[in-house]
């Protein structure tokens, strides 16, 4: 294992470790598209919060290709795929008591969504 040395701290912290992957992976969705979040309940690591599962949203932006945490956390590889900024209305998530004007944005991987 490499050992971080004091003189490496500044350059490494300034460079960071992006989870972006330079891979030619086709996106499954396009900005403007309506999606339905999958109702998955894995016992393993996921970055899909429960509050958004089974909800309808709109793809706003394609952020590009990133490592997929659900596999990366378990030694199952990067499975690179697109991540999108997806917009949900407050009412869609929380019901009629939510303010009609409020919205929430979440970043979702291809594997978290289906077309609708």
């Amino acid at each position: 294992m490499p050992v971080l040395k004091a003189e490496m701290v500044e350059p490494l912290t300034k460079t960071g470790a992006s989870c972006r992957v330079d891979a030619a992976v086709a996106p499954r969705f396009r900005p403007g598209e309506r999606i339905l979040v999958r109702n998955i309940n894995p016992v393993h690591h996921t970055r899909l919060p429960r509050y958004v599962r089974g909800r309808h949203g709109t793809v706003e932006r394609d952020h590009g290709v990133f490592v997929f945490p659900d596999t990366s956390a378990h030694g199952q590889g990067h499975k690179p795929q697109h991540v999108y900024s997806v917009r949900f209305t407050g009412r869609e998530l929380w019901g009629p008591q939510a303010s009609e004007r409020d919205v929430l944005y979440l970043d979702l991987w291809d594997d978290y969504m289906d077309p609708t």
């Binding site: 500044e10 300034k14 960071g16 952020h63 991540v83 409020d102 929430l104 970043d107």
Partner: protein
């Protein structure tokens, strides 16, 4: 947390951290000087004063603002605020019509190079649970009133994108230098739980947003 009595015995947690460090150093897996350099970087060097400079630049330079909103990572890199937990940035702009607020419901994701390390409240259960379901209630707790006509946008940083709010430039700040403007930009205004300070001294911390500008309610 209150100031700790330095004569009190070290807690179990503190002892475990000491043991962990001692073992890792003993086994040559961690270099103690690197530890000190890391701590120094994030305790003394990196902080919201970085993000404040980004905001002040955007307020004074429309072309920079356009670049910042289009490709935040590249624009922030122009000011050298790059690195760990800021590799993929998105800047979201507050306007009279839109108020943005950032949270990480699942853990504590936060843009370190521009804001430093997050405060405890950001990483704790009350904010993480309420920000997404009752953003206006949360804003009220921070003393920020948002009119019904303003759209509140909550950004849950569940992936590796890190979000920075570009607060509105307060009224009455024409002619101020970038440095003077940066001094008005609070950490909370870049998270979205606060507004930038107005230039008047002794301004109340309570703020009211009205469409078309900002008013301040004096205490």
């Amino acid at each position: 947390m209150a100031h700790r009595d330095h004569n009190a015995p070290l807690s179990d947690t503190a002892l475990r951290v000491k043991a962990l460090e001692a073992l890792l150093v003993e086994k040559g897996l961690v270099d103690p000087q690197a530890l000190d350099a890391i701590i120094d970087t994030y305790e003394k060097k990196v902080g919201p004063h970085n993000g404040a400079k980004v905001v002040a630049r955007a307020w004074t330079d429309p072309e920079y603002k356009r670049r910042l909103l289009d490709n935040a990572t590249a624009a922030i890199a122009e000011l050298s605020y790059t690195g760990v937990q800021g590799e993929d940035m998105v800047v979201v702009e507050n306007t009279p019509e839109i108020h943005n607020m950032v949270v990480c419901t699942l853990c504590s994701c936060y843009p370190w190079p521009t804001l430093g390390l997050p405060p405890n409240w950001y990483k704790s259960a009350p904010y993480r649970s309420r920000a997404v379901i009752d953003p206006r209630g949360v804003l009220r707790e921070f003393g920020v009133e948002v009119p019904d006509t303003t759209e509140v946008r909550v950004w849950d940083s569940n992936a590796e994108l890190r979000y920075l709010v570009l607060p509105m430039r307060p009224d009455g700040t024409e002619g101020m230098s970038e440095n003077e403007l940066a001094a008005l930009v609070t950490r909370d205004s870049m998270i979205g739980t606060g507004l930038a300070k107005t230039r008047s001294a002794g301004a109340s911390t309570k703020r009211t947003r009205a469409s078309g500008g900002q008013h301040e309610r004096r205490a």
